[in-house]
């Protein structure tokens, strides 16, 4: 028995390894029955039938259009998607084509999951700058759309309360914005603005770091990408923190209720700071009374977050030419328009925007295109973003709950800086 135990254990282990090994397929080296090279593709869009429908159409059009490659796709729910990619990368089982959320791209490119995209430059130049992911001077990802935030309001409510309707030429100043909130609160709205603070995760840095940037601060010193000192805890950041804490302390914003735009639709709040994806529902509910307003200018101009889901080619793909061919095919304006209209996101090319029912020059959601062009700030393009993002979320929540602003920001800076240092600068030196 003493001698057989190790044999049993090793047989079990070998068996397990063989079983996991069987999962490997489709990195551009498998072939279909009719001799075409199979290209696997993963998307995060399970549970999003509108998006999936467009992908299915592109894939079947592409597969019909030539006889060299066949794209086979698999969809994951968004919540489990990043974990699936990381697990696949760890076991050497990445698909050829994968989509990814813009800010995570540098982390994955740095980790060696991705290869440079190398699409023709006329294609990538035609896209919104926020729909193209650059790391280390190379393009690693490109997307069909971008998202944008705005403040939704009812024109009638602003007029009744004597509040000026802001424009892109003359957005609300910080004082004007505070006054508007005070007026609306006095006018009977218990919390005048819904900024979505009941949400968690990436929403926090995506939605609230633009306010910080509008005050003149930032998440990290973008000239070096090596430290947050001064950017996230300087005087501008302190001003942002006190303003942000004030929104809650003064009762202008709450952190309860439901995620999404329902409070605005039910007229429980007068203003809603939310995304383009909620715009059609708001339009249906409010109609012509709906205003899509730029965010306030808190000192350094209005800012909103940029960068949404994009496509990349994995470093494990053995037939990158085929993957590239597919991506080039997929970036047709016709498809981009379809994504934009079905999902209510901003199309990445101007031609697609013009063809769209919402985002053309006369489209009801045109302001989002302009906000995206004028105000969008990408989240810092560094592999440290995974840490910056969760640290910022914690710090902003603490500030919301009344923690000392300077202490909280100093602690966040030391946490981020320690992480960057322990990763040898993430390739920036």
């Amino acid at each position: 028995m003493r001698r057989t135990t190790p044999i049993f254990v090793s047989v079990g282990l070998v068996g397990a390894i063989v079983l996991t090994g069987c999962g490997q397929a489709g990195q551009g080296d498998a072939t279909t029955e009719d001799g075409r090279t199979e290209l696997t593709m993963w998307t995060h869009s399970a549970g999003n039938p509108a998006e999936l429908e467009v992908y299915e159409r592109i894939i079947s059009d592409f597969n019909d259009s030539q006889d060299q490659y066949e794209v086979v796709h698999e969809s994951f729910p968004q919540g489990a998607y990043n974990d699936a990619i990381v697990a696949a990368a760890a076991s050497g089982d990445l698909p050829c084509l994968l989509d990814l959320d813009g800010p995570i791209m540098p982390n994955w490119a740095w980790a060696g999951y991705l290869q440079p995209l190398e699409l023709p430059s006329e294609l990538t130049d035609s896209l919104l700058p926020t729909a193209v992911g650059v790391w280390d001077d190379q393009i690693y990802s490109a997307g069909y759309w971008d998202a944008a935030l705005a403040i939704f309001a009812r024109e009638s409510v602003l007029t009744e309360n004597g509040i000026r309707v802001p424009t892109m030429e003359e957005p609300w100043t910080a004082d004007e914005f505070d006054e508007a909130l005070a007026t609306l609160k006095a006018g009977g709205y218990e919390t005048p603005i819904d900024i979505g603070a009941e949400d968690t995760g990436e929403w926090w840095p995506y939605a609230y770091s633009p306010f910080l940037q509008s005050f003149g601060g930032d998440l990290i010193d973008r000239s070096t990408m090596l430290s947050s000192d001064g950017a996230l805890n300087g005087p501008e950041a302190l001003a942002w923190g006190e303003w942000f804490a004030g929104l809650f302390a003064d009762g202008y914003a709450g952190n309860g209720g439901t995620v999404g735009n329902q409070e605005f639709i039910d007229d429980e709040v007068a203003l809603s700071y939310t995304g383009v994806w909620n715009a059609v529902a708001a339009l249906d509910a409010v109609g012509d009374d709906l205003l899509i307003l730029p965010p306030p200018d808190l000192g350094a101009g209005p800012k909103i977050g940029g960068g949404s889901w994009q496509w990349a080619i994995s470093s494990e793909c053995n037939d990158a030419d085929g993957a590239r061919e597919y991506l080039e095919f997929s970036f047709q304006d016709e498809y981009i328009t379809e994504f934009a209209d079905k999902q209510v996101v901003i199309p990445a090319t101007e031609a697609a925007a013009q063809a769209s029912q919402y985002f053309g020059d006369d489209g009801a959601l045109r302001p989002f295109v302009e906000f995206s062009q004028e105000y969008a700030v990408l989240r810092p393009e560094t592999p440290a973003y995974a840490v910056i993002s969760s640290t910022f979320e914690t710090a902003a929540k603490d500030i919301m709950n009344g923690a000392d602003v300077q202490d909280t920001l100093d602690r966040a800076v030391s946490e981020i800086d320690a992480n960057i240092a322990s990763n040898d600068g993430y390739g920036f030196q």
Binding site: G12, T394, K397
Partner: protein, 313 residues
């Protein structure tokens, strides 16, 4: 392991010995074959991860990184205890949680068990009612309680109604002074039914004759409890105490769903902090060190409990 003594072998005819041996070895193989599925799973999902965690905790390994992990000695442990106030606070929060939950949950469970152990009408209904939260997913329970704890939620509305508007309540989960307490209340409520059932099974092992004898001796209900019930519940008590302690120390889901460790780290626990460091911030080496510290702490506490509750003959 099964060596036949040579003297016995010499006495037996050779053929019989061989048959005996072959039967024995066949039995051994069959036994091993039956152990194998569980054994392989145990090695793959228990022993290998534990060894991995132990090894990783002495390195600066990252979840995602092109840089190879470096051996850093005890750096991670030193960092946890000397340079990481959030870790220290998480340890404190976990300790407070366990110190409150263990006696209160065990006590309440026993009280409920004694109550529903009577022969009266509708007792099954009560047992079911107390047990429902246990079989409901803790994620669902946490989400529901999150709504109830809101500023304008059910709990504050009730307080408002009961005090005729004199006290409108606080934003329970977003106030550093009340958040941990709110999670403690929810956790006790959720799992008390489970421990009630365990106590109940213990109560039902106590022979009825003992109570009859006690009654004959004229013992009051309280004397019956202290002199018959409580001694009879001793093994159950040890089990309940150990399971509640381990569950309490591993507090994670409620925190993850309701507060994410906030506000101002007032609900961060050791397990939550390890997950946060390891996955969100990708510092697997450091998270492994935290897990190892947690493992040692739980081991020590369990050993102390065993010593304190051992049978003294």
């Amino acid at each position: 392991m099964t060596v036949t003594p040579p003297t016995v072998a010499a006495e037996l005819p050779r053929r019989a010995t061989r048959r005996l041996r072959s039967i024995k070895s066949r039995e051994t193989w069959a036994g091993l074959g039956m152990i194998a599925p569980a054994g392989i799973l145990l090695v793959l999902f228990l022993i290998v991860p534990v060894i991995l965690a132990f090894t990783l905790s002495f390195t600066n390994a990252r979840l995602i990184s092109p840089n190879p992990p470096r051996f850093v000695g005890f750096d991670n442990f030193i960092r946890a205890f000397t340079a990481d106030p959030v870790f220290i606070q998480s340890v404190g929060n976990t300790a407070v949680f366990a110190l409150v939950v263990v006696p209160v949950q065990a006590g309440l469970g026993l009280l409920l068990a004694v109550l529903v152990n009577r022969r009266m009408r509708g007792v099954t209904a009560f047992r079911v009612i107390f047990f429902i939260p246990v079989v409901t997913s803790i994620v669902v329970v946490s989400i529901l309680w999150k709504f109830m704890y809101q500023q304008d939620g059910l709990i504050n509305s009730m307080i408002d109604a009961l005090t005729f508007g004199a006290w409108s309540g606080v934003d329970w989960l977003n106030d550093p002074h009340t958040a941990l307490g709110a999670i403690i209340v929810l956790s006790i409520w959720q799992a008390v039914g489970f421990h009630m059932i365990i106590w109940l099974s213990g109560l039902q092992t106590i022979p009825e004759e003992l109570y009859e004898a006690a009654k004959m001796d004229g013992a009051s209900p309280w004397r019956q409890f202290t002199n018959v019930t409580w001694p009879g519940l001793r093994p159950t008590m040890v089990f309940v105490l150990v399971t509640i302690t381990i569950a309490a120390l591993g507090l994670f889901v409620q925190v993850d769903v309701m507060t994410q460790g906030g506000p101002v780290n007032s609900t961060s626990t050791i397990v939550y902090y390890a997950v946060r460091k390891g996955y969100e911030q990708q510092e697997i080496g450091y998270a492994a060190a935290i897990s190892l510290i947690f493992f040692v702490a739980v081991l020590i506490i369990a050993l102390i409990q065993r010593r304190l509750t051992r049978e003294k003959d």
